[in-house]
Symmetry: C2
Subunit: 357 residues, 2 copies
């Protein structure tokens, strides 16, 4: 089998995880990573023997001067690639889109970009098939991905009338918390509903929901609290059955002692996951409850990693190497160790960690 | 070769790391882990196929009732072990000491215990040899371990007259930051000098230093800032040479972009280290400077992991399976991937992470 040759532009929080995730797939190979920095972030890529390219000619010189072994520039990298994942900052990505097109290389952008950049927004379990063969797509943001997974499932089960969510966001990512953090305050997004409402509709157009977003002084992950109007009165068990069969959605149980964001992040580290990543939406199953046709529940979204498996699936969809979304999702899940349902009932829980066998 | 049969009592922040580190050694085998909890913490040990024992008969019942497959109690585990590492909370450990003695099982305690419990306190590079064949020792605390490594090295080089350090401590460990944290304040230890001064002297009796300890609202790691009176005026380069050759001491460089605690913790995660652990003392090499006979420098201590390699060496010392401390240190370092010197000049930097080979 010819492996898909994947390039990565923007070796940051999301980009470095995409690179590692590509490496874990049997049907993909990583032809290089591209960035502009000269510090520890890119030196790790060098230490991993990832071919390192410079995103711009200026960066090429700076990286050379800093002793980074640079294989070439983005132009050179594009010659090696079937597809490129762009995880660069906002304005950079827009400018890159034209360049990828010219080079005839398919491209995947992240949720910071507008839907209009590609005309297609992607969440694997919602619309894999519509991305097949396209030249580009956009993997929606972490929060939007979680919304599409969870409310797409409720909608498909015929249970969703409308929903309202309050998104309690982590203030910044850990690596830059020394400069871009907030502390001892709550900051609200002044536009209500927040952009996630509209963003989710780029994937599922008739998803009826509203969102409000605030940010709080922590760096662990996002937290959502939802009130859902159901189409009919159903039991909690029925809801758990629907969500328990949804890919990339897991349950946290109180009798497992999982009660706060920091418990979950510690658990993921203990499981030996790379960087302690959680790719799943994690729903607190015990506090979830139904009152007549109102459904209430809270969940956790690990913003640094949740879009990574979606990006891997988008690679298969755009290149058309796999036509069945479910098959791609299962491949990705198996390669990374992604779970669904009650976390301690899914086996094997542990991957890449010391195991007594 | 007969492997040392190691038991672990207290599967918490330190204990779970000791268990995994034992698993990584060629000359050791993990016969079981012991605890009293019934939640996700111990369920991870089950998922790793570590034989799980209950520390008490009451815990045995509780664990059974919670569906944990319990192999027996601590008494049963002791029958299987040559040596036990005790990482239980303070008062529990004291009570256990007698039990281990009775069972004829050698024992290693952690730095929360008093020196008098074992009559011997351990840091591998300072006093491995004096622990050989003993029935028990105490691995000193995270901060004390860092002090003994760094100031032991300066003392051995004939450079240390006396030193004063301010220890800026993380408030609590991440997993329990939902209940035991502090926020928006600085809390000081009201006893000056803080206990680390005396504690370091349990390993190197004539170490002349003073310490003051404060804690701040973060969970990443400890931070020390030191002023050292040298025995003579030497160059910065000479200091870096001494510290650069000290095992388990690494340099963070500003041109690698490493400027804050959160950069280092992100780097360790990127390196693929289990749980993002840093076992080394990490000295900021650029701000280190000498003014006449005064030496100033700052370093970072990752409290969750720094004592783990020391515990592994203590296992070899007490059992006498390895008589040479340096050989044991090198074995442990190789098994875990522990570095010294400038982090990007030490190869291989990356272990357990996706590598393009």
């Amino acid at each position: 089998m010819n492996k898909i040759k994947v390039a990565l532009n923007g070796y940051g929080v999301i980009g470095k995880r995409i690179a590692d995730a590509v490496m874990a797939q049997e049907d993909m190979t990583l032809v290089g990573v591209c960035d502009v920095v000269t510090d520890w972030r890119i030196k790790i890529a060098v230490a991993k023997n990832y071919p390192v390219y410079a995103s711009t000619p200026e960066a090429y010189t700076a990286m050379k001067n800093a002793g980074i072994p640079v294989a070439g520039t983005l132009t050179d990298l594009l010659k090696e690639a079937d597809i490129i994942c762009d995880a660069t900052p906002k304005k950079v990505a827009v400018a890159n889109a034209e360049m990828y097109k010219k080079a005839g290389v398919k491209s995947i952008f992240q949720g910071g970009e507008k839907h209009s950049l590609t005309g297609h927004s992607f969440v694997a379990q919602a619309n894999y098939e519509t991305a097949i063969g396209r030249s580009s797509t956009r993997v929606v943001s972490c929060n939007t991905t979680s919304i599409v997974r969870v409310f797409g499932a409720l909608k498909n089960a015929g249970l969703l009338k409308r929903a309202h969510g309050v998104l309690v966001r982590r203030a910044t990512d850990p690596w830059e918390s020394d400069s871009t953090g907030i502390m001892n305050t709550v900051v609200h997004e002044t536009v209500i509903p927040s952009h996630q409402t509209e963003d989710a509709q780029t994937v599922i157009p008739d998803l009826d929901l509203t969102t409000v977003a605030i940010k709080v002084p922590e760096t662990l992950s996002h937290f959502h609290t939802w009130r859902v109007e159901l189409t009919k009165a159903v039991s909690k068990e029925e809801i758990l059955k629907v969500l328990g069969n949804t890919p990339r959605v897991i349950f946290l149980k109180e009798n497992d002692g999982l009660k706060a964001l920091n418990h979950t992040t510690e658990l993921m580290s203990d499981m030996g996951r790379p960087r302690g990543d959680m790719w799943e939406v994690a729903i607190w199953a015990d506090s979830l409850n139904v009152q007549d046709t109102d459904l209430f529940f809270n969940y956790q979204v690990y913003n640094q990693a949740i879009v990574v498996p979606e990006t891997i699936d988008a690679i298969r969809a755009l290149t058309g190497i796999e036509k069945d979304g479910t098959v791609s999702i299962n491949k990705t899940n198996k390669a990374l160790g992604i779970l669904h349902g009650h976390i301690f009932e899914s086996k094997p829980v542990i991957k890449n960690a010391p195991l007594l066998v």
